[in-house]
């Protein structure tokens, strides 16, 4: 299940959804708002999304991960709106019988989300400037 969230991500609830008796491994990735980017001081971020398409594309990535790797469950939630330094921007969690598949799938999901899902980051810098990132 992929979700776009306008409020703080409840990671404990997500982790509980992944807990299955068959699962021996759970790997999570958390993306936090960093206080810098390429040596510029960042004070906050604003994430914008094309929510309906992001939902479809995010769900597609999770389905790909489930078919490529021997995993039991996968979840991803991405925040939108204004986030302060230290806040959780994106959470990925994967459970599996064995850890190798869980690491590979978690890595795959965050890589693909960053490449493909229509979400954009506006960085607000300490000097008052800001800019949308279009890498």
């Amino acid at each position: 299940m992929f979700h776009i969230s306008e409020t703080a991500i409840d990671t404990a609830a997500l982790a509980r959804e992944l807990a299955l008796a068959r699962a021996g491994a759970c790997v999570t990735f958390e993306g936090w708002v960093r206080d810098h980017n390429e040596s510029r001081s960042v004070v906050r971020l604003e994430y914008q999304s094309y929510a309906s398409l992001a939902q479809v594309e995010g769900q597609r990535i999770l389905a790909e991960a489930c078919s490529k790797f021997a995993i039991l469950g996968a979840r991803c939630v991405h925040r939108v709106g204004t986030l302060e330094v230290g806040e959780l921007a994106v959470w990925v969690g994967v459970s599996a019988a064995h850890r190798g598949a869980a690491f590979d799938a978690c890595c795959y999901i965050i890589d693909e989300v960053k490449k493909r899902v229509p979400i954009w980051k506006n960085e607000h810098y300490a000097d008052g400037e800001s800019g949308w990132l279009h890498p």
């Binding site: 993306g31 094309y50 991405h78 965050i110 493909r116 954009w120 990132l133 279009h134 890498p135």
Partner: protein, 79 residues
């Protein structure tokens, strides 16, 4: 033909709106973007964008129909 066009991120800032209805003739998404680029002064070429029609990614040569909702997707930066 009337299209609904959605703008995001730097395109939204440049257009000054998140969406607009436009009354134009364009055989495909590429032609539509060319016209809107001229209108709003977008600096980004279509080689840097993807296009989605009615909520699905499509190719630039996708034919447009009256009432289509079109989004030009700049390089994403989530995560």
């Amino acid at each position: 033909m009337t299209y609904r066009v959605l703008y995001f991120a730097s395109l939204r800032d440049r257009a000054g709106t998140d969406a607009e209805s436009v009354d134009l003739q364009a055989i495909d998404a590429r032609a539509l973007y060319a016209q809107l680029r001229a209108r709003h002064g977008f600096t980004m070429g279509d080689d840097r964008l993807r296009v989605a029609i009615n909520g699905e990614f499509v190719g630039w040569e996708h034919a447009l129909r009256d009432g289509d909702e079109i989004a030009f997707i700049p390089p994403v930066s989530g995560g």
